[in-house]
């Protein structure tokens, strides 16, 4: 495919008179990682919610493979959401079924798209647990028994098992220990490279953005105030707010 995987044009979401996000435009190609940074309330999660279809935008276009997802019927959008898209929540509890075993969590998307062979489903789940560095011996344990980092990796396995094209992540490393974060970042980078994923990652952690994202969008008050190459935005920020943001963090 030569065109962009995702093309966002003039997207806007309002909460009554208040702006959630507005005039957001960008495009994303396979294999690219786009970081969205900004403070809490800057509209980055609202934007991600609109892209994923969790929130309905008020204006603009979200073209996935050239088709406007805002104009799609819900069934079609839900099919996309469980086949070609993945959404990794900040809190694994929002993205996992806590009462279902690790294998069942990973297998759910397979079964949702018609897999009906228990042995095959289990083998695939086991393979994916290995890829996210969870011991296959824990396939029948429930996520409750896992550490935070393991839960987050399980969430990633559960999302990627059907080979999605577009992965949306909301603060995937938030709430994790620094060393666990590092392992997760390395895993994500490898998966992006191996699977040619397009990734949108929302984070307030500039260090995470620097290590993971090719490009960066800085948001404030619902608007994109600066966008560009990640290291350029972080090392030579142009907008006043970005300069403040970059100078506010400990050196990384």
């Amino acid at each position: 495919m030569s065109g962009p995987l995702l093309e966002v044009v003039g997207l806007e979401k309002r909460y009554g008179a208040r702006i959630g996000c507005t005039e957001v435009s960008f495009d994303l190609y396979p294999g690219e990682v786009l970081g969205i940074v900004g403070e809490s309330g800057s509209g980055k999660s609202t934007l991600l919610g609109c892209l994923a279809g969790h929130l309905s935008a008020d204006a603009g276009h979200i073209l996935y493979k050239g088709r406007d997802t805002r104009a799609m019927a819900e069934p079609e959008r839900r099919v996309l959401a469980r086949t070609e898209w993945a959404f990794v929540h900040q809190n694994p509890r929002d993205g996992l079924r806590m009462g279902v075993s690790a294998g069942g969590n990973v297998g759910e998307r397979l079964m949702a798209v018609g897999a009906r062979h228990y042995g095959d489903i289990r083998a695939t789940a086991s393979d994916w647990l290995g890829r996210v560095e969870i011991d296959a011996g824990r396939i029948d344990d429930r996520p409750r028994a896992f550490s935070g980092g393991m839960q987050q990796r399980l969430q990633i396995a559960r999302n990627l098992v059907t080979g999605p094209r577009l992965v949306m992540m909301d603060e995937p490393t938030g709430g994790l220990d620094v060393s666990v974060q590092a392992r997760l970042l390395d895993l994500l980078r490898a998966l992006v490279r191996e699977m040619g994923l397009a990734v949108i990652i929302v984070t307030h952690d500039l260090a995470v953005a620097r290590l993971l994202a090719d490009r960066l969008m800085v948001m404030k008050d619902g608007r994109v105030i600066e966008a560009g190459l990640t290291d350029q935005v972080l090392d030579d920020p142009q907008a006043a707010y970005t300069q403040l943001l970059v100078s506010s963090v400990l050196q990384v």
Binding site: E32, L185, R210
Partner: protein, 227 residues
């Protein structure tokens, strides 16, 4: 291969009363394939700034930076990413990597990004690490815990993993002992021999004299500071 034309750069410090600091103006020079140009001038003259502009890390205020036909000054992020992937290499003074990734992989990464099969990429990485005298027992450890000299050598190995047609070297021999300095200078000479265009900053005058074909004094491009 690398052509700089009438390039200028200023920083606007919005959080310090919008002070505008002009650091570079009217810079121009060119580097041909197989040639190594050393940037000179005292500290603060803008050597690193100029190098970072070629890398696409700092935005140009005006002028052109053509690397292999692409004007970095006006290129889109996507074009710069592609340029860095296959045509432009950069050995910075600092190693910046994802913690906990083994050294072997850190070095192989530029090759993996180009789609080189993993065994080949790792083999190339090991050869380079060996050449640069990084003991094999360290290859499976993350370089974040290494000494400054070791980190610098890992950084160099990474920068030389792929035969980029254009290379930027920021103090490649700093903090290296005599043996390893010799190895690095050998790598630079080999890169020149295969036709790479190199821009370097060398405080080490002997090293500069050995590998650089000519020097560009950046002080010439430094605007007169307003008092």
């Amino acid at each position: 291969m690398i052509e700089i034309e009438n390039l200028s750069k200023s920083f606007t410090l919005h959080n310090q009363g919008a002070a505008v600091i002009s650091v570079l103006s009217g810079a121009h020079f060119a580097v041909a394939p197989g040639e190594c140009v050393a940037l000179t001038g005292q500290s603060g003259a803008g050597k690193s700034t100029l190098m970072r502009m070629i890398w696409g890390n700092y935005r140009a205020a005006s002028g052109a930076i053509r690397v292999g036909g692409l004007d970095v000054a006006t290129a889109t992020p996507r074009e710069i990413i592609a340029l860095r992937r296959d045509r432009l290499g950069y050995v910075s003074q600092f190693l910046r990597v994802v913690p906990r990734v083994p050294t072997r992989r850190v070095v192989a990464e530029p090759l993996l990004a180009l789609g080189v099969p993993e065994p080949d990429a790792l083999a190339r990485a090991e050869t380079l690490l060996d050449t640069l005298n990084i003991p094999e027992r360290l290859w499976d450890l993350s370089p974040t815990t290494f000494s400054g000299g070791e980190q610098q050598r890992v950084n160099i190995a990474r920068g030389f993993a792929h035969p980029y047609p254009a290379l930027l070297l920021d103090e490649p021999t700093a903090s290296l002992d005599a043996t390893n300095r010799e190895v690095v200078l050998g790598l630079i000479e080999a890169a020149k021999a295969r036709g790479a265009a190199i821009v370097g900053i060398f405080h080490d005058a002997a090293a500069r004299a050995r590998v650089a074909d000519r020097a560009v004094d950046v002080t010439r491009f430094t605007p007169a500071r307003a008092a």
